[in-house]
Symmetry: C2
């Protein structure tokens, strides 16, 4: 055990922030930690848009489905897969491959996770905003993202004004398979469902009575942003 | 500055490992750090396959295009996007959405990055193996991944037997945009290209003479795993 392990194991999303700004040298450190993450084949296909104006923050909070912490956090970063950069350098670049969408998503997430870990190690907190994908066209327009750039998710950062519990994850016995994929153990799932129900019933904020199985059954009974298929193609991704 | 920041900023891929195994309690800690990462809408759609047998490691090293450290590392983990788990719980789950591929890729990468950071904080090193996507059908067959599961990348972990330099990344001034997307500054790109040429010319191993712009021009003049489009659809991803 060390302080990095403690930081990683203590992660919980923070959605309420004090008004204390993040010092620009701290933000630089956080971003440098993000840049230090691995890059597939050294393609470096991630861009980050830092959004600071109240007007733009307000619009992004709305586009994300009404998430007020997009406005109230100290820093808001939008992580994008970016192959426009490469097209500027090499106008004949072969783009649009589904593989390149995977690389962009994976590399952006690794960079962002380094930023969040660095921030948490400094006493800050944050939450990812996948809700930006509710309105990807509007986010793209607001941030003036050109073709071959897509917004993937946002990251709110700031000094925590709340202290929520960590949320129990699926156990290793379900997530980690040895040598070959194994179907889920119904006993272990039942135990986890009971654990999550207890967590939701007793946590400080937003108590509810639902198991994980019920929750994902509800979520996956609905379509998942069906417009994403066409949006990606319009931006020049997943065309082949 | 703190030890977590130092760990993140000191990252470099390790491809040569001693024979020292990773203690099972350390591996548990590393995996628990991975599990603690954020999960989009709490869908928890990541599975990890730990591959230990020499025979399977040898096959994966070959499928990845001949990467011997897949065999020689102490631990090899394959990170997968997994919605089969949800289908087992909810057979009528609506799957196949492009959005779900994004969630799976992003969440798997965040989990993996936590594992790598935890490992590095403990004195271990590692390298991601995107090369598994050279032969996704064969990897899928070897790991017995069912429909709605795709292998995204591997992670080699072990005690370092080399001490390579950190590799200079694109500067913040190019990667981070304020408020709106900005085209690349050709001056800054030229500076970075010179920096990378110097890095390649003077590093300990695998010296070469190439700028980043030249490197990505070469890479992006070729198709990027054009079979990925059909592979994903066959596994039940990106079908709508």
């Amino acid at each position: 055990m060390n302080s990095t392990i403690n930081t990683l194991l203590s992660h919980r999303s923070i959605r309420s922030f004090t008004e204390q700004p993040i010092d620009s040298s701290l933000l630089d450190t956080i971003l440098n930690c993000g840049l230090a993450a691995s890059s597939s084949s050294f393609i470096q296909c991630v861009s980050v848009v830092r959004v600071s104006t109240a007007e733009n923050r307000s619009k992004l909070a709305e586009y994300a489905g009404g998430q007020p912490y997009v406005e109230s956090c100290s820093e808001f970063l939008v992580f994008c897969a970016d192959y426009n950069r490469h097209q500027q350098i090499h106008p004949e670049a072969q783009l649009g491959f589904t593989e390149q969408t995977l690389i962009g998503s994976i590399d952006a997430a690794m960079m962002a996770q380094n930023c969040l870990t660095a921030a948490e190690s400094l006493g800050l907190g944050g939450v990812y905003i996948g809700g930006l994908r509710n309105n990807p066209h509007k986010v793209t327009e607001l941030l003036a993202l050109p073709k071959h750039v897509i917004p993937l998710f946002g990251l709110c950062l700031g000094y925590p004004n709340q202290n929520p519990e960590t949320k129990p994850r699926l156990p290793k016995s379900i997530v980690v398979h040895q040598e070959h994929y194994q179907p889920i153990s119904l006993d272990e799932l039942a135990q986890y469902d009971a654990h999550i129900q207890d967590y939701y019933a007793t946590r400080t904020d937003n108590k509810k009575a639902v198991s994980w199985s019920t929750q994902i059954t509800q979520t996956l009974s609905k379509e998942a942003r069906p417009f994403m298929h066409d949006f990606l193609q319009k931006q020049g991704f997943n065309t082949k």
